[in-house]
């Protein structure tokens, strides 16, 4: 199991690098789709069918929305010579990456290794969600009963995003006849 996941993760990392360095945007979007579908395989192997379904659906919709955005614009990646500022940002990001990786390695020593998770908060969820909520899908039972406020908040975030998109895509911000001068 662990080996399979490692193979997929390495493939995902390669695809992510390809996606970031791709020459045109459609290749980048397709490579990002590869990363997303790899994530679906990981979810399937990790016994999370709920998430796999949601991730498939999301991946497709994100792909369509990105395509709808970029479809009649320039597809080419901006290829200009590297300036001094670029060198600065590249060094900064590499230093950040190195520091984070080093400390992450140190920090996770002593935590539960893969597959040996212990339950504390969710012990009761696993044992008694069926009795109390009657939902055969434990994730949905937790989602709408014990953590219902989170889910309501999530729906509100989506509502906010729809309002935000409508705000951003207005043609003009101010009424024409009222602007002075």
């Amino acid at each position: 199991m662990e080996n399979l996941l490692i193979i997929i993760l390495v493939l995902m990392i390669i695809a992510a690098l390809v996606s970031i360095h791709a020459k045109d945007l459609i290749s980048a979007i397709i490579a990002q789709g590869f990363v997303g579908y790899g994530l679906v395989i990981c979810f399937l192997l990790l016994k999370a069918p709920e998430l796999a379904l949601v991730q498939i659906v999301l991946e497709t919709v994100t792909l369509i929305i990105i395509l709808a955005v970029v479809c009649d614009s320039t597809m080419k990646e901006i290829g200009e010579p590297i300036s001094k500022r670029d060198i600065f940002t590249y060094t900064l990001s590499f230093v950040l990456v190195a520091i984070f990786l080093f400390y992450f390695n140190k920090a996770i020593v002593g935590l539960n290794p893969f597959g040996e998770h212990t339950l504390r908060m969710s012990e009761m969820y696993v044992k008694e969600v069926l009795e109390f909520t009657g939902s055969a899908n434990l994730v949905k039972g937790v989602l709408w009963d014990f953590r219902g406020l989170d889910t309501l908040g999530e729906a509100t975030v989506l509502f906010t995003a729809a309002m935000g998109v409508l705000v951003i895509l207005r043609i003009s911000g101010k009424k024409q006849q009222l602007t002075k001068k």
Binding site: V57, T60, T133, G134, S135, A136, T156
Partner: protein, 142 residues
């Protein structure tokens, strides 16, 4: 798009619609639920738009309608959650309907109701976003 694609898109969009509704309604006994079902429902509309073009739905009026759908369904969800306060025990998000037998369609108290409401809401939201993007580009081209 050619006639074959258009016809197949019509058939498949109906299939997607039914599958989305199934997913939203059976959220508490199978994988799926409100969110996945809602996205599938909106996928049906998006597929039709992609196959047939913009004028298929008379989009200008649709954005208003989807926006209303969205706010009404989430409003009902909020009121349902709030109604838990009056169901005896003063607890927000009180699941006061009886749990029923697990595994059957009518079980889980309020969970299926929330799933259906969120399904409608997500379908309306994603359609709103997609339609808004498409309409915007249409207006800017003129």
């Amino acid at each position: 798009m050619s006639v074959i694609v258009k016809k197949i898109a019509q058939l498949i969009s109906a299939l997607i619609f039914v599958f989305g509704m199934y997913s939203a309604i059976h959220g508490h006994i199978a994988p799926g639920g409100g969110f996945a079902g809602g996205v599938l429902l909106s996928g049906a509309f998006i597929l039709l738009i992609i196959a047939y073009g913009l004028d298929y739905f008379k989009l200008k009026q649709q954005t208003e309608a989807t926006s209303i759908f969205e706010s009404v369904s989430i409003l009902i969800a909020l009121l349902l959650a709030f109604s838990g306060l009056f169901a005896g025990s003063l607890y927000f998000f009180n699941n006061y309907l009886p749990p029923g037998t697990p595994g059957s369609l009518l079980s889980g108290g309020l969970i299926p109701v929330y799933n259906i409401l969120i399904g409608i809401k997500v379908a309306a939201t994603l359609s709103t976003i997609f339609f808004a993007l498409i309409i915007y580009k249409e207006e800017i081209r003129r």
